[in-house]
Symmetry: C3
C-alpha cells in the first residue's frame, strides 16, 4: 500500500498529466479536510453511487466537470502551485458541479451555467481567501456556497433555467414545518448525514466516505460520526421536520464542523472535544436560523452553517491557522500546542 502511494507520488512529480489528475483527485477529499488522492477517488465513487442510486447520473457528470473546470481555471490564473497540488482549488468547484445539476433542470444551457459557475468558484475562492487571510482563516467551502446561491437565485430570473430545489418561497413559520414523520432507523441517518456533505442522499455513499476518511485520518472519521450523531440528536430533541432529519439534512454541516474543529485544526483532546460538542450545537442553531433567512427565497442552506459556525469557533483562537492539510497541521500543532491548547487543558 505505502509503496503504491510512493510510486504514485513519484509519477505525479514527473508527469504533468498525472500531477493534474492527482490535484483533481485531492479536491473531493479536501472538502472534508483530507489531503489524499485515494480518499478523493473513494469519495468520487461515493458520489457516483449516490447519483446512480437516485437516478441522476448527470450529478456525477457535473461533479467531474466542475472539478476539472475549477482546477483548470486555477492553473490559468496561475495560483500558488503547492496549494493547487494539494487539491485546494478543486474542493469548492466539485461541490458547485454537484449542486447545479441537482437543483436545476436538465437542459444544454444548464451545462454552460455549470462551467461558468465552476470557473467563478475558483475566482471567488481566490477572492475570499485574500479576505479571510486577514484573520488567519481560509474561506473553506464558502466559495461553493456563495456561487451556488448566486446561480440558484439568478436562475429564478432566467426563463431558460428552472429551479428544482423542492422548496417554495414562503414566510418562515408558515407551512407544514412538522409534516414529515421521523423514521427511527438512526444508523442509516448518521451515514446519510455524512453523504449529504456532497449533497447525496444515500447511506451507502456515506459509508464509503467514512472509509475514505478512515484511510487518511481515524480522528476525522470518528469526529464525522460524532458531528452527524450530535446534530441529529439535538435536532430531534428540539423538534424539527422529521422528513429532513431522515435524509441526514440536519447532520452534514455538523460533520464538517466536527472534523475541522475536533480533529484537523486542533489536536484532539478533552477540552477540544467539549469545544467541538458546543460547536456542533452552534452549527445546528446557525443552520436553522439560516434556513429561516432563506425561506422567502426558497434556497437551501448548503454548507453555509458549517462555514459561519467554524469561522466563529476559530476566530477566538487565532494562533491556530486553519490549514486544510492534515500533515502540515500536525507540524504546526507541535509548535503551537504548548502555547495554546495544552495550557488550556492543564490549568483546568
Amino acid at each position: 500500500m505505502t509503496q503504491v502511494v510512493r510510486g504514485w507520488d513519484g509519477l505525479s512529480d514527473r508527469n504533468p498529466l498525472i500531477e493534474f489528475v492527482d490535484a483533481c483527485l485531492r479536491g473531493p477529499a479536501q472538502v472534508v479536510f483530507q489531503n489524499n488522492p485515494l480518499s478523493g477517488l473513494l469519495i468520487l465513487v461515493a458520489v457516483a453511487w449516490g447519483a446512480f442510486e437516485n437516478g441522476q447520473p448527470r450529478v456525477f457528470g457535473g461533479a467531474v466537470l466542475g472539478l476539472v473546470v475549477g482546477t483548470v481555471t486555477a492553473i490559468v490564473l496561475q495560483v500558488d502551485r503547492p496549494s493547487l497540488r494539494k487539491g485546494l482549488f478543486g474542493f469548492s468547484p466539485v461541490l458547485t458541479g454537484i449542486a447545479v445539476p441537482t437543483f436545476l433542470d436538465h437542459r444544454p444551457l444548464m451545462w454552460l451555467y455549470l462551467v461558468l459557475g465552476a470557473a467563478a468558484t475558483t475566482v471567488i475562492t481566490l477572492a475570499l481567501n485574500a479576505v479571510f487571510k486577514t484573520w488567519g482563516l481560509t474561506a473553506f467551502t464558502f466559495p461553493f456556497v456563495l456561487t451556488t446561491w448566486v446561480l440558484l437565485m439568478g436562475a429564478y430570473q432566467f426563463n431558460r433555467l428552472t429551479v428544482l430545489t423542492g422548496l417554495k418561497p414562503r414566510f418562515p413559520g408558515e407551512g407544514a414545518l412538522t409534516g414529515g414523520r421521523f423514521n427511527w432507523d438512526l444508523i442509516p441517518i448518521l451515514f446519510r448525514g455524512v453523504s449529504q456533505v456532497y449533497l447525496i442522499n444515500s447511506w451507502v455513499s456515506g459509508l464509503i466516505i467514512l472509509v475514505a476518511l478512515l484511510i487518511n485520518s481515524r480522528w476525522s472519521a470518528l469526529f464525522a460520526l460524532v458531528g452527524s450523531a450530535g446534530a441529529t440528536l439535538l435536532a430531534l430533541w428540539f423538534g424539527v421536520d422529521g422528513l429532513s432529519l431522515d435524509k441526514g439534512l440536519y447532520g452534514f454541516n455538523a460533520v464538517l464542523t466536527a472534523i475541522a474543529v475536533g480533529a484537523v485544526l486542533h489536536r484532539p483532546g478533552v477540552f477540544v472535544t467539549i469545544y467541538t460538542l458546543f460547536g456542533i450545537a452552534l452549527t445546528l442553531f446557525v443552520h436553522v436560523a439560516l434556513a429561516t433567512v432563506l425561506t422567502p427565497l426558497a434556497i437551501p442552506v448548503l454548507t453555509g452553517p458549517f462555514n459561519i459556525a467554524t469561522w466563529l469557533l476559530l476566530l477566538p483562537q487565532r494562533h491556530f491557522a486553519p490549514v486544510p492539510n492534515h500533515e502540515r497541521v500536525k507540524e504546526t500543532i507541535v509548535s503551537t500546542a504548548k502555547r495554546t491548547i495544552q495550557p488550556l487543558q492543564k490549568k483546568r
Copy 2:
C-alpha cells in the same frame, strides 16, 4: 462614598469571588459604556423593576443567568483578564439573557437555549472583536444582536420553541403601519427610550438607568437623553407607527449612538455634538431600513442599528480607538485630542 468604592476595589483585588461579582456587575453598565459596578447594580435593579412591572419576572432571571454564564464562559476560554474585570464579557450575554425569555415562550427547553446562547455570545464576542480589531473598532453589542437573531430565527424551525415577538412575517409596506395612536406624553417616552436599551418598557426603569449613568458620567446621562429625544422627535416628524414610538422603540438605538459618539469615544464639544446629532438621524434611518429588511422574517432590530451606525460614524476617524471604558478613553483623549478633534474645532 469614595471610601466605599475604594474598599470594594480592594476586596475585589484580593477575593476571587468578589472579583467575579465585580466583573459581573460591570457587565450591565458596559452596555452603556460605563465601567462602574454600582452603575451595573442599579441597572440590574432597573431591569428587575421592569420585569416585575410587566409581569415577566423570568426576564430578570434570564438577565442574571445570561450574565453569569457569559462571564464564566469567558473565564473558561481564558480571555484577556483586564477586559474580563472591566465587564467587557458580560454586557452582551446579559442582553441575550434578557432577550430570550422576552421573545420565546416559557418552558424548560428555553432555559437550555438561553444557556447555550449566552455561552455562544461570549464566543462570538471574541470572534467579532478579532475581526473588528483590524479597523480599530470593537463589536459593541453586536454579538448579542447576532446571537439573538440566530436564536429567534432558529426557533421558527423548532417545534418545541415558540417565538413571541408579536410580529408576523409580512411584506414591507403591507399591514397597519400607521395603526398606533401616539400619546403626547413626551417625558415618559424619553425615559422608555432609555429603558428599551435593555428591552424594558418602563419609564421608571429608564429613570433608574439615567441615575446609573449620572453617578459615573454626567455627559453620558445628558447624551442619553439627547439621543432619546432626538430620534423620537425625528421619527415623529417623518411619521412612524405611534404605538411603537410610545414604547420608546425609536429611541433606544440613538441613546447608545449618542452616548458612544457624543460622550464616551470623543471629547464632548461643539463639533462632536453636531456630528452626534447627525449620527442620531443616521441611526434612525438605519433602524427603519433594518426593520424593513427584517419584516419578512418578523424579527426585531434589537440594537443592530446602533452598532451599524456607530461603526460607520467611527470608521472615518480611526485615530479614536473606541475603548468602551470611560477612564481609559479620557487618558487616550489627552494625547490624541490635539491631533484630531481639537484641530477640527479650531480651524472651523
Copy 3:
C-alpha cells in the same frame, strides 16, 4: 483645447471657488472612473437631458444638490485634499442625489431626506474606504448603493414618504417575470445601458456619456460598449424580462465592470479582455441573484452587482491597487505590469 484645459487647471489652483467647482465637476466623471471636469460636465448635461426628457426635472436638481452637499460634507470632515480635488467624494453623492427624487415622491421632506442622505453618503464613503483599504480596494459606488437602499427601505416605515420604485414586494419566481416584450432595436438599448449607470433611461444621454468617456479615454468608451452589449446579449440568451432588457437595465452594471476591469484598473490586452468578458457574465449573474434577494423588499439592485463582481474580480490579483484615477493608474501600470499582467500574457 489643451490650452483651455491648462488655463482651467491654473485657475483651479489659485481660486478656491473654481477649485470647488472643478472638484464637483469631476464627481460625475469618477462614477465611470474618469478624472476630467469636462467629462463630468458632459455627464451632467446627459443627466439633465434624460431628466427633462422623462419629465422629471427634479432628478437633475437632486443630482446637483447631492453633488454639492456630498462635496461640502467632505470638506467639513477635512478629508484628504488630493482625493477631494479628483472628485472622489462627489461620485457617490451625485448618484444618491439622482436616486432619491427618482424613487421617492415629490414633497418638501424628500429634499431634507436627500440632503441628509448625501451627507451620509460621504461619511459612508470614508467608512467603507477605511474597511476596503485592508485589501487594497476602494468602496467604488457602494456608499451610494448602501445609502440609497437604507433611504428607500426606511421610507417604507415613514408615513410622510412614499416609495415609487414601480416594484411590489413579492416572492421570487412569482409574478409576470416574462411579461415584457423585447424590442429588437439593439443599438438604442446599448446606449441606454450606458445611461442607466446614472439611472437615466435615454439613449441620447447614453450617447453623450459615451462622448464624455471618449474625450478622456478611448479604451473606457470601447469597454463601456462591450459591457453593455455583452451583458444584454447574455441576458437575452438566458431569457429575461424583455421590458427591463429594453430599458438597458441588464447592461449598466456590466458597463461599469468592463470599464474598471478591462480599461482602467488593468492594462488592456488579450488576457485582460478574456477576464473582462468573464467578468461581464459574473456581473450579470450577481445582478439577477441580487434581484432575487431584493424581490421581497421591492428595492432596485442599483450598482450593487458591479461593486460585488468587481471586488471579486480584483481580489485575486491584489497587486493591482484599484486607483480610480486614470492618470495614476497609467503610472502604476508601468511599474507593476512587468510583474503581473505581462507575465500572465507571455507565459500563455
